[in-house]
């Protein structure tokens, strides 16, 4: 039996043009609706169906089941194709956020061209997230809720392998200054 709360939440999510927070769903569905319980019930009742309610970064929306991609894809354009630099930069921001441009460059070992971060911001996946309080006060970048939705991540904890990488110390704050200094001084000698 489908409860009235469930029906209301399902209709709200269905009609919404944007993913909605619990509070937004509650505001639309009306007073006294137990949104969390209704969502849990919906997730269960839609599990076998061709469309599902999903949570991405604290916001909910309906999307089609991934296994049906083949029938839906043919009429659609491929989403934005990123350059290799773009993909790596996005991964670095996602796994290290917030991170400055210099820190991204330290990990990649090369300068990133001016447009790379712009492309990621234009896609709605990356946003400026303030400045690092170090000399020069560089801008730092972080990912957005749109990034989580696009890549089907409930939260940053769902980033593939993030726990292993952290345990291996590969996500520690980037400090390659010494290495770079050495390179330069070695270069001077050469």
């Amino acid at each position: 039996m489908i409860g009235q709360d469930e029906r209301a939440v399902e209709a709200v999510l269905f009609a919404a043009e944007q993913p909605l927070t619990l509070a937004e769903i509650g505001a639309a569905a009306g007073e006294g609706v137990d949104v969390a319980a209704a969502l849990a019930a919906l997730v269960q009742s839609y599990a076998p169906r061709g469309i599902h309610p999903v949570e991405r970064g604290g916001r909910w929306h309906f999307e089609t089941a991934p296994d049906l991609a083949h029938i839906l894809r043919r009429t659609r354009e491929e989403p934005r194709k990123l350059s290799r630099a773009g993909i790596e930069t996005l991964a670095i921001i996602a796994y290290h956020e917030p991170v400055s441009r210099a820190e991204i460059e330290a990990i990649r070992g090369v300068q990133i061209s001016k447009g790379t971060i712009d492309v990621l911001m234009e896609a709605g996946w990356v946003r400026p997230a303030g400045r690092r309080e170090v000399p020069g006060r560089p801008l730092i970048y972080a990912t957005t809720a749109g990034f989580l939705s696009h890549f089907g991540l409930g939260s940053r904890r769902d980033l593939p392998g993030i726990d292993d990488l952290r345990a291996a110390g590969l996500l520690d704050p980037v400090d390659d200054m010494l290495f770079n200094v050495e390179v330069e001084s070695a270069g001077d000698e050469a």
């Binding site: 043009e17 839906l72 993909i87 670095i92 590969l170 010494l178 290495f179």
Partner: protein, 241 residues
């Protein structure tokens, strides 16, 4: 090495020395944590030497890296000199960590791109109705406002109708009749004003004065009255002819 030829040809394809180092490290086909840094350094230096032999343009940062790696190599081969800081073994470890980091991010990027992505693997609702908040004005008015407004409309119209329908005038015909009738009674010179109807309305007075004057001129033309005026703007006298 087999890879060397392609590497040499593709020199422009590398995203910097670290990228090249990582590719070379991968060719060792071991876990990056087990990587032989010394072997990697040898590979890199050999690659740069080959490229130079082929007179390829080599960007400065590749040469800088080569110099640094040559320095690292000598540090690793020579007996440990405690005076030298930092320890070459530690530098080697740091290089290894850098390669691991870049490799990890590269792999993470590939795994991200392979996820079920919106617009490629999963799709959002094509035509959502949207949740709309409609601002509806709740019109307010009191009964007093309504009645007062009707009073205002009515009051506005009343004087307009009064002026149009009951404008006080004396027509020329009315004046002729009145003057002819009165002439029967007044035999001597009589002032024009005496012929006018008694009224407090100044506009009716003006109208009847003008009409009566015209009526007298008409009667004088017919030879039925005589007119006399002693001076300009003086009283106009009339008597039957």
């Amino acid at each position: 090495m087999d890879a060397e030829d392609t590497l040499t040809i593709d020199i422009d394809g590398w995203e910097g020395p670290l990228d090249l180092l990582l590719t070379l490290a991968r060719s060792q086909k071991v876990d990056l944590r087990e990587l032989s840094i010394l072997a990697l350094v040898e590979q890199y230096l050999a690659f740069i030497t080959d490229a130079r032999a082929l007179k390829l343009e080599i960007a400065a940062d590749y040469l800088v890296m080569a110099a640094w790696l040559a320095y690292l190599k000598s540090g690793l081969l020579l007996p440990r000199d405690p005076e030298v800081e930092p320890d070459p073994a530690e530098l080697a470890l740091r290089l290894q960590l850098r390669l691991q980091r870049l490799d990890a991010m590269r792999e993470a990027g590939a795994r991200l791109m392979a996820r079920d992505r919106i617009g490629r693997d999963v799709f959002l609702r094509g035509a959502p109705e949207g949740l709309r908040v409609i601002r509806k004005p709740a019109w307010q008015a009191e009964l007093y406002d309504l009645i007062a407004a009707y009073g205002a409309v009515t009051a506005r119209n009343v004087p307009v109708m009064h002026v149009v329908s009951r404008r006080p005038v004396m027509t020329l015909e009315a004046a002729l009749q009145r003057v002819e009738a009165m002439l029967g009674h007044a035999l001597d010179w009589t002032a024009l004003e005496r012929f006018l109807p008694a009224t407090a309305d100044p506009s009716l007075t003006r109208s009847s004065r003008a009409s009566s004057f015209l009526a007298m001129l008409e009667l004088a033309k017919q030879g039925r009255v005589e007119l006399r005026q002693d001076a300009a703007f003086a009283t106009l006298w009339v008597r039957a002819a």
